[in-house]
Symmetry: C2
Subunit: 412 residues, 2 copies
């Protein structure tokens, strides 16, 4: 037994090795042009420069009188400054008048500041007479004005390549008149489930069969995160069927093949990949759950051999597949969403193996508590309740109750 166990351990690679192999893959990023209406959630494929100043002219921030600020010096309620009222500028109009010393022009919020004026006195600090206006308070140069280019300067880099586009970014683009954006194309993920026991969710699963969970979780997750999905369904445990279905996914940017819980099934998928001309780069990783994970290149593109058990499949997907997928999405750097909290119970773990434990995060009295959920990897419902997972490094034998741990959130 000793011998067998040692051999088993030696046949797996370390998570660090897996990361090295995966990092060495550089996706071939493709780009496309989209209208800003459809660009939210996509990723800028190049730096975006401002084509003009924003705002394009000095604008009033209030309803009031555009003045030459030095004219207002010393103004007070009891000792107002009198200025000649010269007219007004409505929003949306280009001013046809200018403001000289001793003059003022009424402006609405958002209006173009007439030449000569350098500030606006709010209406409530003025008293309007027939043809003159009493200024009751001094203003400083630039007061109540947003200046040309104050928000964004012509030529300035507004967005960096690799940034995910938010609704606010769309607003900035709209303001600058940028109506189309170069974004990274959505990577296509080819998804296949395998196993003679697997049937569609639309089928009866009573006669020894189980329905396809991994295929559905994966395609929903990758689509949610911005991928294009090819889902080819379920391959039987026959080398020809696996080959035929993999070939149907050939145009994908990456492949996720799940299933093969037993060794024989996995070997069959690996054999099929090899017969199609693919290379297997590793098989078996020193992690729990997820040990049967294998990885290779097929038609020059990453192929992830995910374990059949749902919890194992998801652990490997979050820990190893998503970083590659995010690189394909075009993210320059993507830091996983994490938070820290205090463990509510001990988490035992095996020394020498990197372990993943699902957890619920709860905030009580401004403190964040992390409650581990233990379950067999063949289950699935526990994932619906989990906020995320914690990682027990291979050089640790678990965590103690009340230790602070970092939670990797599932919602990303």
């Amino acid at each position: 037994m000793e011998h067998k166990k040692r051999f088993d351990f030696l046949s797996t690679v370390s998570p660090t090795y897996v990361e090295e192999v995966l990092n060495s893959y550089t996706p071939d990023a493709k780009v496309e042009l989209v209208r800003i209406d459809d660009a939210c959630g996509r990723v800028f494929a190049e730096d975006v420069l401002a084509p003009e100043d924003l705002p394009y002219f000095d604008r009033s921030l209030v309803d009031g009188y555009a003045v030459v600020s030095k004219n207002s010096q010393g103004a007070s309620e009891t000792n107002p400054v009198m200025l000649q009222k010269k007219g007004n500028v409505k929003v949306g109009m280009v001013p046809q008048i200018s403001v000289e010393d001793g003059e003022c022009v009424y402006v609405n919020t958002g209006a173009y500041i007439p030449p000569g004026a350098d500030s606006v006195v709010m209406q409530e600090f003025t008293r309007e007479m027939e043809s003159v206006v009493e200024i009751l308070k001094p203003v400083y140069r630039g007061e109540n004005i947003i200046q040309r280019g104050e928000d964004v300067k012509n030529g300035q880099i507004v967005f960096k390549k690799g940034k995910v586009i938010t609704p606010f970014d769309i607003g900035v683009c709209a303001a600058l008149g940028i109506t189309e954006l170069i974004v990274f194309k959505k990577p296509t993920v080819g998804i296949m489930s395998t196993g003679d026991e697997i049937v569609s969710p639309f089928d009866n699963a009573k006669e020894g069969k189980v329905r396809d969970v991994n295929g559905y979780v994966l395609f929903t997750l990758f689509r949610r995160l911005g991928g294009q999905i090819y889902y080819v369904g379920i391959a039987r445990d026959e080398i020809e069927d696996v080959k035929v279905k993999l070939s149907m996914l050939r145009d994908s940017d990456m492949f996720c093949v799940s299933g093969g819980s037993s060794k024989g099934e996995r070997d069959l998928i690996i054999e099929a990949v090899k017969e199609l001309g693919g290379d297997i780069l590793f098989h078996g990783v020193n992690i729990k759950p997820g040990k049967p994970f294998f990885y290779g290149l097929l038609w020059g593109k990453p192929l992830f051999g995910l374990p059949g058990h749902p919890l194992s499949c998801i652990a490997v997907t979050y820990r190893f597949v998503l970083p590659v997928f995010f690189k394909m999405l075009g993210f320059e750097s993507r830091v996983p969403k994490t938070l820290k909290g205090i463990l509510t119970t001990n988490v035992p773990s095996t020394y020498g193996v990197e372990e993943y434990v699902n957890v619920i995060v709860k905030e009580v009295d401004d403190k964040i508590f992390v409650e581990p959920l233990f379950a067999k990897s063949a289950t699935i419902s526990i994932l619906s309740q989990s906020s995320g997972y914690i990682v027990v490094d291979q050089d640790r034998e678990g965590y103690e109750k009340e230790e602070e741990v970092r939670v990797f959130l599932y919602e990303i």
Copy 2:
């Protein structure tokens, strides 16, 4: 001036009052049936009960021999227990044989446990001879088996009404053969911008005009969060045009009208709403930015009068509009995403006014720092850089540097 200021203050309502008014609105939730393929991100409109046990039969978690556990008692490498090999059960098959005392049956991972067996000995703890198998280690009852109903029990509530549907939930539904779900209909948000100075992002904004930022931010945001959008474009500052465009939005579940930075423009929108038979419930809120915010009911549905300045518009949207929208989406309770961090600078604020300040969140050496970004509310680019905002309560005069504050995140 004293008098004027006091009057101004009195004419606004408090944020608490606003919340009361908004909470009193109960949306008329509509539901629809969607396939699980399209249900991710939607909200369960009723509790979901499991239609069967999951798994539906006892399954093996490993490759090995199904045995009667008590037969394995005392087994060891040096003193193995010998069991008669009776055959095997492949995954996906219903067993045609049973396991009696003294017998064992080979099972693959995922296979249906044959009747009589109550546990599985992993293959590596066995030695296979001709027709007998040596068991080298005892197993306890249930070991290496996932039992019928262990993941989910028939009749159990798997999902509660009001839960947002995640990829994992889709997996659970797939496993249970639930292929269609009753979800809340996407609420439709009618969006209109107003102002003679506002032009489309596709237009030139140089001659005193500015492009429509709010309309674009709002429709992108609400669509991103799960809404259906009617965007009617820009109404001129004429009561008839506002009425015509509002009427085009009549079928919406709520209305977001932005613009009217100056008092005259706002009054015009309010007049149009009244002429269409709507009620204005408040106008002017004691917040900064966002004071011109007004709210009413038009055709029995909420109408939000959002300020024209982008920063003000967004502040009001996040603070007051989204909670109503989330109620329409069907969320039972939605806690805003927040995190806590340490302020990097003082944040001054006016006593008696609830203030919103945009911030950047940075994690340095495991500590979270919150850096305020100050900007005029007529700007927009600052929003693209912000992680979220902090709220300075009306009974505070700001925050001190190094105080711990709660950040409301923009990404939700």
